[in-house]
Symmetry: C2
Subunit: 325 residues, 2 copies
């Protein structure tokens, strides 16, 4: 038995808890500790909880750190800081800032002789891989990404900021007729409104003007104005009972042509009961790849585009060729 890959989790929200669960499904991993900014006493992890300030002293005990903080403020700081000390994996997902994030993590990782896999998960991540694959295999064609049905955290936050709204959840829903048109090879031009619908479940404060809330949401620029939006008012109990899960998913379609106009369709889809648990499972597979790349003496920042799928598996190359090719 080879030695297990020793992992630390940084940040213990939904994603960090998902990583803890995912590690239990992968017998080649061992969770050493969960690092949090909170008082370790208050962290409910099964693994040992440690204050984040003590991370440095774990350098010899941990092979890969899985960074589970948010992309807005946590990762831009933690990513470059920790990449010099440990192999790291993260799910940095602010698309526009990926190039500069890559540069700063890469510099730090190279200096420390470590591997940092950035921006993995499913989008960015598995969806990005399929966008690349579609374009490389079918250069004459169009790419369509549909998200949902699933909860959008950003849009849910936006509706909760509207005056009179006590609580709320927003679902992004792909329009089935648009997906079908793409699947048929029609190569349609689709507007923002054609592709997705937005559905809100709102708990209003007592006495609030529901009509005013609905109007404000539907007309909110960037978030809702370009979409058809449905607003439903429900009770706090209904929200808790029916809208506490975090399902998500989506589809990346490439619709291309080859030869004398042969239609060729590539489709990659996810249907997820739990978005954070799935993202966590992807992070763990890429943690394995980070460890293997590190063992091979490589260093620097990597994205899903740089990593062969073989490294995601616990199986040997011989086994993979025999069993899965």
């Amino acid at each position: 038995m080879t030695q297990k890959i020793r992992v630390g989790i940084v940040g213990y929200g939904n994603l960090g808890r998902g990583v803890e669960k995912a590690i239990k499904q992968n017998s080649d991993f061992e969770l050493k500790a969960v690092f949090s900014r909170r008082d370790p006493e208050g962290v409910s992890s099964e693994a040992k909880a440690v204050h984040i300030s003590e991370l440095d002293s774990y350098k010899e005990q941990i092979d890969v750190l899985i960074l589970c903080g948010g992309s807005a403020t946590d990762l831009p700081e933690q990513g470059p800081a920790l990449a010099g000390l440990f192999h790291t994996v993260d799910s940095f997902d602010t698309h526009a800032k990926i190039p500069s994030y890559y540069e700063s993590v890469d510099a730090s990782a190279r200096k420390g002789g470590k591997i940092s896999v950035i921006s993995t998960g499913w989008d960015p991540g598995l969806f990005s891989l399929n966008r690349l694959l579609g374009e490389a295999v079918l250069p004459e064609g169009n790419e369509y990404t549909f998200w949902g049905k699933g909860v959008s955290q950003g849009h849910s936050d936006a509706i909760r900021r509207v005056a009179g709204v006590k609580n709320g959840v927003q679902y992004t829903i792909p329009r089935e007729e648009a997906v079908q048109r793409v699947r048929s090879g029609e190569n349609p031009e689709l507007s923002t409104r054609d592709k997705h619908l937005r559905e809100c479940y709102i708990v209003a404060e007592e006495g609030a003007d529901q009509a005013a809330i609905e109007t404000e949401i539907k007309e909110m620029p960037n978030y809702f104005a370009d979409y058809d939006t449905v607003v439903n008012f429900i009770s706090e109990e209904e929200l808790k009972r029916d809208h506490s899960n975090m399902p998500h998913g989506g589809t990346v379609l490439r619709s291309g042509r080859t030869g004398e106009n042969s239609k060729q369709i590539i489709e990659f889809g996810l249907k997820l009961d739990s978005n954070p648990e799935f993202t966590a499972s992807v992070l763990v597979a890429y943690a394995r790849a980070a460890f293997k790349l590190g063992q091979a003496g490589d260093a620097g920042a990597k994205t899903v585009f740089d990593i062969p799928f073989g490294l995601l598996s616990p199986k040997s190359p011989e086994q993979l060729r025999k069993e899965l090719l």
Copy 2:
């Protein structure tokens, strides 16, 4: 402008013709010649046709050879022989013999300092990648591969060997109800018969006993006995008119569980008007990867599991991170 990747095609059947078309869609490639065992006069390629015996003299003019021969007799000989002279890409698809084919191509490629990408296309190839991905990300789960609707060459050959059959085509058809059960996360146990249906279109010889033909096909061991098979008799004109295309496709599904029983489904599907043109398009993308790996000084046999997706694209890593991640 960097220099184009100079390609040679070996074998000019459906796949070789598909590669010729695919190269026209990729401006970073240049087709130098088509090599065939036939008299070059009789080869209808737009590119220069050359007898295969002259291949050696093209060593300095060609970067990557795309081997378009069959897996039964052509590739086992050509693969190892050519891997020492050129970077090569092939679609060797006899699953059981892949490990030994890999070994012999690898030895030859290493000796010559060349890259050989073996067994690419869509199965083996893109489907294999998705089987690996599903297993690595969702270790607790089941994998289901459905093929079709599409023409199976092996089964079509088998029915054409039946006495009284003049011509015929066999379609492998996935059972929609089985696909739906998997998509729903049910994790069903599916027998061979549950997963696929076989449909045959037969042109019988004049005066042949159609009932006897039907019985012989349906009871044929390995090919049909374990399936529900539908046999249709049609005329030669109908066969030509309605069954001359080579559509294919299929679906790889991974149905897994994470955490406290969250259902997670990953699906990868292809819907192809032309099977050989699509396979050819995949070969060309992997020819680009072979070239880049060779430029980087790597050598030996590779499979899709060993090659990062970034190498499939003509874009730079910076561009890919900015545009597609």
